[in-house]
Amino acid sequence: MSAVIDGFAVVLEPTNLLYCLVGVVIGMLIGVLPGLGPAATIAILLPVTFGMEPVTAVIMLAGIFYGAQYGGTITSVLLRLPGEASSVVTVFDGYALARQGRAGAALGIAAIGSFVGGTLSIVALTFVAPIVAGFALDFGPPEYTLLALLGIMLVATISSGGRIRALAAAGVGLLLATVGRDDFTSAERFTLGNLSLADGIDFVPIAMGLFGLGEILYNLEERHRAVQPPAKVTGVWPSRADLRQSSGAIGRGSVIGFVLGILPGGGAVLSSLAAYALEKRRSKHPERFGQGAIEGVAAPETANNAATTSSFIPLLSLGIPANATMAVIFGALLIQGVTPGPQLVTEHPELFWGVVNSMYIGNVLLLIMSIPLLGVFVRILRVRATVLAPITVLITLVGAYTVNNSVFDIGLVIGFGVLGYLMKKAGFDPGPMVLAFVLGSLLETSLRRSLLLFDGDPTGFVTRPISGTLFAMFLAVVLLPLAGTLLRRRRPAPTAGGEVAAHPEADRPTDTAQTQTGSMEPGPTVNESAENRPADSQQMKSGLVAGKPVSQSPSSTGPADAQVGSMAERPGESPSRNPNSETKEPE
């Protein structure tokens, strides 16, 4: 317990407080800007953190991550322009409320919900993470092998952009991780005789290229139709009735966000979709959703904040990043010489509790700042991409150079930037690739260590109790979706109707800006042709979850974007061919 209190002492150091503030302000800014997400920003800012203490660095980076969730709300509500993917569902009711002149109430309830969700999630994190870490202290190389495999598999399964594509990207990531000198035999692998590659490819250029430069290039293509600045927001405090109406949604959103945030590949986007779906399903008047239901703002905003916080649990207690942003923070820790893992709580208690407790402070700062600074954030949106992009690219390249004073690294950043751009163009999510790259070296060393332990006998993975269990989970993650696909193939496309093409935009917020008059307005929709089995049909009503009949693992109840992906794999059931599966527009 004293460690927890010592953590507060760490946070309250002036430097850490300052960087916490800097982090949340940057987070809110990039949350407001459509396109540039937290993963990209953290990747770009990685070189800046080198001069800092590890605690300070992670406090700032964490601030960017959860700050972005607050920022994304603002543009969703005021301009129907989600700044972050996790705020896409907020658009439906948030913008409807704004048009009724209740933008203040929507923003207020979002800020309160975010605060409550974030804070509850930190409290839970405070208790859960040390327990998980204590449990994980017993983990040996075989357990880590399977944990890394499971992490990569889960991310690839839940990721946006289709399972096959995510797996392909993860495969490339794993291959990239093998470049460089072999740790066990010192043999040079894939170095092409190049000295710069002998130590392997650094994580920083990969993250900066794929997330940073790739995203900037991709966003240059997006053409926004400029809209007039929103009217001044008044009456920020939600009424008593609003609070009463949303209290349940905030509570449930916190739980959903916390649970989904822990899952690899889950995180903010998935949890905001799930929380919105749940509220709509529970509501006695689901038709109010999309017309300005305050719960429709409260639930997803609470959930995405709770999820960003809880996604720190796998990183800080197991050393396994749960999503792309966590992978970048993982990289930041490695650069600082801190290996995240179960030993973190005991070996670096100041770092662990410092980061966790900084989130309390950060959430308070965000609650105080988000509303008064609205005008400033909206002003940021007037900056043109043609001004913003060159500056960001310059910062990225200068940063890439300063890490190792290496021009080769600049080349790498540009190379991976082009790759990231092409991947996005082709519908691949760079997230799984970066994650697989990060987990790749862990996977390789633990696999080879365990094989040394077992004298080369792979059955050892199954006979050890913990690794055996993890292996069973791994098999479940691999086989369940496969089984689902097979089952669906056998039946003549009954569930295809349930595959509502919910909101493919969920993954690419800027797209929604272009299709403003299109599918955004009505929100997730009911599909009557959906199957009537209770669990499934309920989920389908939300338009978010899919017709995967076997829904035992979270991976098989993926969000809209995972759905879109799986449809891409089965062209025969594509929504364009099945009129029932098109999103219905309840006018």
Binding site: R223, R225, A226, Q228, R382
Partner: protein, 132 residues
């Protein structure tokens, strides 16, 4: 032939619209309103709100003038976008609002109004807002 007005949601734009409306009535020609924010940013102060445009439409119909509103976003110079629109619609007159800009400001930032005045091949009516 139409009367073309370059509109911005400002006092100057308001003055230009009022003058253009009078001109359209006098010439008995339809009125074409161009409101062109610069593309590239999600929000632009130059973009007119739908509510604002609705009021303008109402005023035009009260004056018995057919009003067409176009909101193309432009890259590069605003004057080029406006002149291109004038050529396309074969405008009989272009109405613009003038805002006060100091000589130094004009040196650095240029002046869209000046470029329109210099480059236009058709009559230009330049309007200043009334003093407050």
């Amino acid at each position: 032939m139409t009367v073309l007005v370059g509109y911005l949601p400002t006092v100057e734009g308001e003055a230009a619209f009022a003058a253009a409306l009078d001109e359209a009535v006098r010439r008995a020609e339809p009125l074409l309103l161009i409101n062109s924010p610069r593309s590239g940013a999600p929000v632009s102060a130059d973009a007119a709100a739908p509510a604002e445009l609705a009021t303008l439409t109402k005023r035009a119909s009260e004056a018995g003038v057919a009003l067409e509103i176009r909101q193309p976003s432009h890259t590069g110079e605003l004057s080029e976008a406006l002149l291109a629109a004038a050529d396309e619609a074969d405008a009989s007159v272009i109405v613009i609002g003038l805002r006060r800009r100091s000589p130094v400001g004009k040196l650095f930032l240029g002046s869209a109004a000046q470029q329109i005045l210099l480059n236009a091949t058709r009559p230009v009516l330049a309007v200043k807002p009334a003093h407050h």
